[in-house]
């Protein structure tokens, strides 16, 4: 049916190119799981025997899990804080006539156009001058800077698109501001909030450049991996860990996709 519209006609070469591009994206990453099952210490060809030993070894390595937990903690905290900060800010920017809105928005999105290294270095200078010890909190602060613009840019269109008349109706019915927010505004921006939480978590979880300067003695996972590069013996189990993280995140995304489809396909139910 698409063939009736000339610019929607199927385009074989383009499809092939897109497929090839996707393969290019995946090809190198697949070596991580591959070598996590290889008995050799070094990732090189030819492959040696199949083994699960690295996964077993992973289980005995407390510091790895401590680092993973640090990253999860920082990621979740950063996701929540930057989203909570971004919701009112996005609302103000989308809804109110404020003098200087342009510059304010520009300032808030500034971290998107400044190399992360700069924030890492600048914050390091500040906290060390103030005598604040480096910790997961300083890493979190650095991450909030780079996550806040993402959160705001996700939430802004949500507020712009949301239907104000509902809120007005709620107010007319005598609901107070909080109640209106929770009952009317929040549900309409919820997908945006979720997206913001997820994205900011992802950004923080894998961030290395800022964490390198700001982490104290508790390493985040990327920092731990970096420090372990000096010890080849521990490397294969890091491959195993990465494979597990890979599987979990792939599984989650695919599952949510599945759920979305199920929702859509159920008769008599409409997706939001």
């Amino acid at each position: 049916m698409a063939a009736t519209e000339p610019f929607h006609s199927p385009n074989r070469p383009l499809a092939l190119y897109a497929l090839g591009f996707t393969l290019f994206l995946y090809a190198p990453i697949l070596f991580i799981p591959l070598f996590s099952f290889n008995s050799g210490l070094y990732a090189r060809f030819p492959l040696q025997d199949f083994t699960l030993a690295w996964y077993a070894e992973l289980w005995t390595r407390g510091p790895v899990f401590a680092a993973l937990q640090n990253s999860l903690q920082v990621g979740l905290t950063v996701a929540v804080i930057s989203t909570v900060l971004a919701v009112p800010a996005a609302k103000a920017l989308a809804r109110y006539r404020i003098p200087g809105k342009g510059p304010i928005l520009g300032f808030m999105l500034l971290p998107l156009v400044v190399p992360g290294l700069i924030f890492g270095v600048a914050l390091l200078v500040l906290v060390s001058r103030l005598g604040i010890p480096l910790s997961l909190w300083t890493v979190g602060l650095g991450h909030i800077i780079i996550c806040l613009p993402f959160a705001i840019s996700i939430l802004l269109p949500r507020f712009e698109g949301a239907n104000r008349s509902l809120e007005e109706a709620s107010a007319d019915l005598g609901e107070n501001a909080w109640w209106t927010f929770w009952r009317v505004t929040f549900p309409t921006i919820l997908p945006g909030v979720m997206a913001s939480l997820l994205l900011t978590f992802t950004v923080s979880f894998d961030e290395f450049i800022i964490a390198f300067f700001l982490s104290g003695t508790d390493p985040t996972l990327p920092m731990y991996i970096w420090n372990q590069l000096r010890f080849p013996q521990s490397f294969p189990s890091l491959l195993a860990l990465s494979t597990l993280i890979l599987v979990v995140s792939f599984g989650l995304v695919l599952a949510s996709l599945r759920l979305a489809r199920l929702n859509r396909d159920l008769p008599g139910r409409k997706t939001s």
Partner: protein, 373 residues
Amino acid sequence: MDVIDQLHAVRSGKLSRRAFNRSLMALGIGLTAVPLGARRALAAPEDHPTFFTWGGFDIPELFVEYQAKHGEMPNFSTFGGSEEALVKLRSGFVADVSHPCLSGVPRWVETGLFQPIDTSRLSNWPNVMPELYNADFNQTEGKFWLVPFDWGQTSITYRTDLFDLQGEESWAMLSDQRHAGRLGMLSSGGDAWWCGAIMAGVPLSEIATEDAFTRISDFMRAQRPLIRIYTDDTTSLEQALASGELVAAMTWNSSAVTLRAQDVPVAFAQPKEGALTWVCGVMLHKDAPHLDRAYDVIDSLISVPSGIFNIGTYGYGHSNMKAFDNFDEATLRGLGLSKNPIEILQAGHFMTPQSADWEARMNSTWEKIKAGF
């Protein structure tokens, strides 16, 4: 600001809210549940001291004695370089026991963050080789600042099948034109510059002179075109040696051991000019919150079981003389060690403490040389 909807479009726009809720819940539960289970079994509780050390020493094998006595492992915090560690300690981090190297002792002591160690409280002290701790700067009133734990050599690991060795093993192997582009170097000035001094024929006692600076710089600049990588991550160096990408590289003892365990034909050279000998050990924080157990951590590190692991598995020397009795001479020779380690120590070139200005100048010169300037 179009930046913007992009992520929104992908991550939320087309996924239903319900799906997002679920995936997020699953994310939260799934990811936090895993580490919790594992951690409960392994984490040391509050009443154990913290050992602030290089990545790789945070393992049970080195704390056999400690675990026998206290049932659990101490806490760990790891660093990637001793400079970085000192910065963190100076900014207020209190670790009961830290792991610097001997040549850094004066600068570490200068910070006023450490207390001398009462060696009479260490049961394994009598077996510790005096050559490793007898330096003027390391003692005060009969006590020592640093208790040596690991030592070793920085030398050349080379592929016996690929490197065409003519004559004796020597540092000239790393400037061999025939293997240009297949030689590797450690990246930190702490190793590379000192080895550079040996290669350039500068006596280590004169390393702080202006002349030494010029000669070492000239040598390293001339060597650079031959070098494929400068790196401190031993995983890269070993990987490259294993694949044959490199035929010789400046490494620590451990690389040769690890490579041989993977059946890669390598040797750890005994260069005729002498290898660079380094000694590292542990220092005690002046405000160590778990002082008694901190002594147990130190005692466990210098015990024979730790030594056997350190020598046998990591290929590093150990400070406990008795640990060497468990290995035959041939094995030890292959590691650049010996049944009579003192002989090696006496023949080796030692790093000596230098001023902060020297360190800064050396590091900045070295970074420039590596970058090709």
